[in-house]
């Protein structure tokens, strides 16, 4: 929940996490299509957007964990 300092403009950390999870999704998509996992996926876009939400939630939970 540290504020993101973007050249002096302080942004909500959620914005940062949403961009980060997009980047992670991008990498994951490459890996998944390379391994051929998408053969087991019904609607690819639906799968991707669900994956995005799950990654975002995991990031927010990681960020909120008290050990950090």
């Amino acid at each position: 929940m540290k504020e993101t300092d973007f050249f002096g403009v302080f942004l909500s950390p959620f914005l940062f996490w949403s961009l980060a999870s997009f980047a992670i999704l991008w990498c994951l998509r490459l890996v998944l299509s390379w391994t051929g996992f998408y053969r087991y996926v019904w609607h690819r876009s639906l799968f991707d957007i669900s994956l995005y939400v799950v990654i975002l939630t995991l990031l927010v939970f990681y960020e909120r964990s008290p050990t950090r």
């Binding site: 929940m1 300092d5 302080f10 053969r39 087991y40 799968f47 939400v53 799950v54 975002l56 939630t57």
Partner: protein
């Protein structure tokens, strides 16, 4: 051997499972956002004394600088004391005169009391003189009080710090005329720094008095720690604009989109890391770090 699940079914299962997971985690995100007790809208605050002289006069001497640290009892500035010394001498002179008058009146009263007893003076005269003696005593006491006041004014022409703290917004120069009761600068009480977190009303139910709070100042890396001291019990009602002593005047428009209002939660700071300088007005992010409660 043939697979128990056909590839088409596996494809559907994988996707549907992930969609359900996404819906659930989306709900969790929403729930966290609505209820997790943290806010970016916090402020460092402090109490300050508005330093005002107790007497009118010209500033003659300045003993402090802007932003200086002062201790309770330190001299801040002095007002030209000549006028007060003159007033003091005048009060002393008046006291002397009143004392002489009082003594004379007492002697007269006693003398006429004896004469009245021996039958050589009228009771009326003796009584008049007794009354005059009492009057003169009262005037003497009044003069004594005036002298004390003149002394007090003279003492108050030296303005001292009432609390430990920092001089703030100091622009006084010798020759400035200061007026009684009119603040000339602020003395920030260094023992009074605290943080107000403006929490949305949706988050209030999960905040308790005594909760351990992390305070992150904007641009300062080590966190400060504190505890919830109190939660404000009133904020102003923006839908209502009553004139004093009249009936309610409620805003007739009500918007579709509305925001949770914010309530100040006062946090007593318990640990401020070495090297962190607190400035009243600084922006802070406040996070409830009490671990046991599920949110």
């Amino acid at each position: 051997m043939k697979l128990a699940f056909s590839p088409a079914l596996i494809r559907k299962l994988v996707t549907v499972f992930l969609v359900f997971l996404a819906v659930f985690s989306g709900y969790l995100l929403w729930h966290i956002d609505r209820t997790s007790p943290w806010t970016r809208d916090g402020r460092v605050r402090a109490d300050w004394v508005s330093v005002a002289p107790d007497v009118d006069g010209l500033v003659s001497e300045i003993d402090v600088k802007d932003n200086q640290v002062v201790r309770r009892g330190d001299i801040l500035f002095r007002i030209d004391s000549r006028r007060f010394r003159i007033a003091l001498s005048a009060a002393q002179a008046t006291l002397l005169a009143r004392y002489a008058a009082m003594r004379e009146a007492e002697h007269d009263a006693r003398r006429y009391e004896r004469l009245r007893q021996s039958g050589n003076a009228s009771a009326e005269k003796a009584e008049n003189l007794r009354a005059r003696a009492m009057e003169d005593k009262a005037l003497y006491q009044k003069a004594l009080a005036d002298l004390t006041r003149a002394q007090l004014d003279l003492n108050r022409s030296v303005v001292r710090a009432k609390v430990n703290g920092y001089i703030t917004n100091f622009h006084l120069k010798p020759g400035d005329f200061v007026k009684r009761g009119q603040g000339v600068f602020a003395l920030v009480d260094s023992d009074s720094y605290y943080v107000d977190g403006y929490f949305e009303e949706t988050k209030l139910p999960s905040i308790r008095i005594g909760d351990r709070m992390e305070v992150r100042l904007m641009g300062v890396s080590p966190s400060l720690w504190g505890r919830v001291e109190t939660i404000s019990r009133a904020i102003s009602d923006q839908e209502r604009h009553d004139l004093p002593g009249t009936v309610p005047r409620v805003n007739p428009t009500f918007s579709w989109v509305r925001l949770a209002q914010r309530v100040p939660v006062r946090i007593r700071l318990e640990s401020v890391p070495q090297g962190v300088t607190l400035v009243a007005g600084q922006t802070a992010t406040v996070i409830d770090r009490t671990p046991h409660r599920t949110r």
